[in-house]
Symmetry: C3
């Protein structure tokens, strides 16, 4: 159950959804949850028949459902909409924003802030966070506890940095970005040359740039460029434990699921979807709007708009047919070896 | 070498093992180690012949061995048992518990604890840790340095949270759990919808629930549910760098090795074993007591009690036979193409 | 752009490179960058024709190039060398060392340092870091903010520990090592035995040892040995999000790319290269100077000097030929099944 400090009534709810109201309107709602946890202050939703009984049995104050299912909930307060899950989530999103909007900005007394750091409006900084020299925080930036923001970093207005995030020097973060706990931005790219039998480090003096509205999941790592910038484009969303190598260029509104790994200098287009644990070689281009299936290994360029899958990643349907066919491979081998033997005896 | 502050003598050792003692009993032991590091205060064990010479040459004070190998160590203090490694480890476990039991609880002066946080007995909290509003710590909870425990969290008696762990709001942790450094519990699940060309975030307002005796390895991440709970069952052990997506339900006494990744809403039964780097698609069920080989990609439901392997994960023996057969695939292709050409010429 | 506090002139640059100077020598340089960002204080390099126009158009103060390309930059200050990229990077490395050398050592007032900790010369310790009992820091060690260095740890001279690194007790770190943010060294190895239906933990009382010149990427984890040591050899470089299980022994000057995972007791030789997302089973040996392709699954011993690839990892060329052949597998299956049917009808 997610409880909110601010209560919603029917009027506020109708203001953010296109639905029609049925039943009593004199209710005050203060939480969202699944049926099993519901109380009279709860909003729940129902768009699947298998959930009807549980929701009927619950004391939830408001049920968001569709015209098809509405009759089974007669006598209850209902919000009837086309897409119950979507409307439910829109209400939750609005509610969360309301709460955030009323959040008081504050800088914890223990934070260590370099005198040259600059704030462009009210910001929050949690306990034990460190803000380095010449770093700029935009209006409304919220930084959690235990964050390490090094020198010459810029964080755009409205961005939220959760706890224990480490941001190396020179990193540029756009507006309304969200970095979850444990993220590391700007650690050295991974480059060495063997000189006289030893791994000699190639200095990494570029930076990391996140455009606006980027979200990065817990414990993900994005390395600084060797020279120039590693760039994550506007609106791109990155899940937990993802690795982005130095000098990668990722486009807009792309989605990288958990544990994806991109080697250095990989270029990813816009609206690309990389499923979990996908790996990509360096110095290749993954075309815009391509979808790549889980655990795929991308070894070369992928044209735009395609669906890809497998290791090496190829047209997804081909990989699926290979997966079907490979189950017969042991018997095909047996047959092949039998024939081979026969032909030798001929 | 692991040294202990409390010394063990023959009586204490015999009290926790079923073995028989041979040789001098007037020894005082204060460490466990491998043969190369041993001194007269050391306990070592020997159940493999290849280690006999090194152990004979060492000054170790006590050798735990079996009846078969005991004669080669004549003249030494021996503890003779059926399973030397197991008995050795039982002694170490008992010794560690002795040390922990004598640990003094303390709350570091720098910790920032919300006045509404509640402790149900003695607890330890390390330097620079933050405990949020309405959070409850059970009796004997030990929290390391630099931890961020948000609001409305509950941590059961006897749990141990190592350093720099981040726990988001509303998380519920059972008794005797152990979270290693860098773990992040309760970050937002990864869900977006493209609306008007932009990735629109689906709010994530559920929580994470760990039942009793769960252990989670360093830098692993477990996301909060969209609604409801992401649940890890009693006694389940999770290794380092593992990713558990939102709304996953994991059963009891299962083992998830390093770098495993579960997409959202994956259900895992009891006594399941997922080897390293296994990935599982979302909205599927992995049956109880199933074993899944390393790097497997689980694309659909897996029945209980099976052994599975490969991408896509299937019956392990079939994958093993495919792996054997695929080595012949290039020559099978050559033969196939030769025949194809011949038949065209016919 | 990477700016430096100390300026370089022609004499200082010529002192570290073998090149010849052309054009004006009376320049003062204070940064390195790509052409697009250059100003009169910039050093850029050019060894590819496709970059010539951008560099010509830029106001960069010094261009490092080769004899072939030098004529197109006539009238500019040039450093002409055999390998422009290498010389450029050598200058950057020297410049970074100059800056580091002038760095003032300081211990932040908020750091919590056990009175028994010992410093063998000047060291830096950042805000909110914790140094445990009996821990030793060598001369010139630099520790960032929010680090947790437990008891009985030893860190060799010149090592650099970035922010929020966690080092468990007894860990030994050599000279000139570099650990990036979020690294966890020495968490418990992952070992359990099912006893009476429950996962019983095998105590992990060994340690982690890093030899000299080891670098470890952000959020990587290296577990302590069950007994004895998990060892990373001199000069070995480990990328981000890598997992090294308990009791692994890694040789010298090896390279482990991002998201590699080694199960327990894996032995890796010298000069081994493991590409991204490679996994290795435990209790096996990966021979010196072997190269293993991305996402490979190493299931058994790999002889020295080989190139390996695939799951299971085998001779790389064989895997490449299998990858080519598998594209034909669906049609081979069709043909096989057709023949099977025909032979039944015969």
């Amino acid at each position: 159950m997610k409880s909110f400090k601010q209560h919603l009534d029917a009027a506020k709810i109708l203001a953010v959804t296109q639905g029609s109201w049925q039943g009593a309107q004199d209710i005050l709602l203060d939480n969202v949850c699944e049926a099993a946890e519901a109380n009279p202050g709860s909003i729940v939703f129902c768009e699947q028949e298998r959930l009807v009984e549980a929701i009927k049995a619950s004391p939830a104050g408001l049920i968001i459902t569709n015209t098809l299912l509405a009759p089974v909930f007669s006598g209850r307060s209902l919000l009837i909409v086309d897409k119950p899950y979507f409307s439910f989530m829109s209400i939750v999103a609005m509610w969360l924003e309301l709460e955030n909007g009323s959040e008081i900005f504050s800088i914890h007394a223990t934070a260590v802030i370099d005198p040259s750091a600059r704030f462009e409006g009210e910001v929050s900084i949690g306990a034990f966070s460190v803000i380095g020299a010449n770093t700029t925080l935009g209006k409304g930036v919220r930084i959690g506890s235990g964050c390490r923001i090094a020198e010459n970093v810029s964080i755009g207005a409205g961005s939220r940095i959760h706890d224990n995030v480490c941001i190396y020097g020179e990193t540029v973060i756009g507006k309304r970005c969200e970095l979850h706990s444990g993220v590391v931005l700007g650690a050295d790219g991974f480059g060495y040359l063997v000189v006289a039998g030893e791994q000699k480090k190639i200095p990494q003096v570029g930076k990391v740039v996140l455009d606006d509205d980027v979200e990065i999941g817990a414990n993900s790592t994005i390395d600084r460029a060797t020279l120039g910038s590693t760039v994550i484009g506007t609106g791109t969303k990155i899940d937990n434990l993802v690795q982005i190598g130095h000098n990668c260029l990722i486009g807009k509104h792309s989605v990288l699921c958990a544990q994806v790994g991109l080697a250095g200098s990989t270029t990813v287009g816009d609206y690309v979807y990389l499923a979990g644990q996908v790996g990509a070689a360096g110095h290749i281009t993954i075309g815009s709007r391509s979808l790549v299936g889980a655990q795929s290994g991308i070894a070369g360029n992928l044209p735009e708009n395609g669906k890809y899958f497998g290791t090496p990643a190829m047209e997804a349907n081909l990989t699926k047919r290979i997966y079907v066919a490979q189950k017969h491979l042991p018997e095909m081998l047996r047959e092949y070896q039998k024939r081979l033997k026969e032909s030798k005896h001929d």
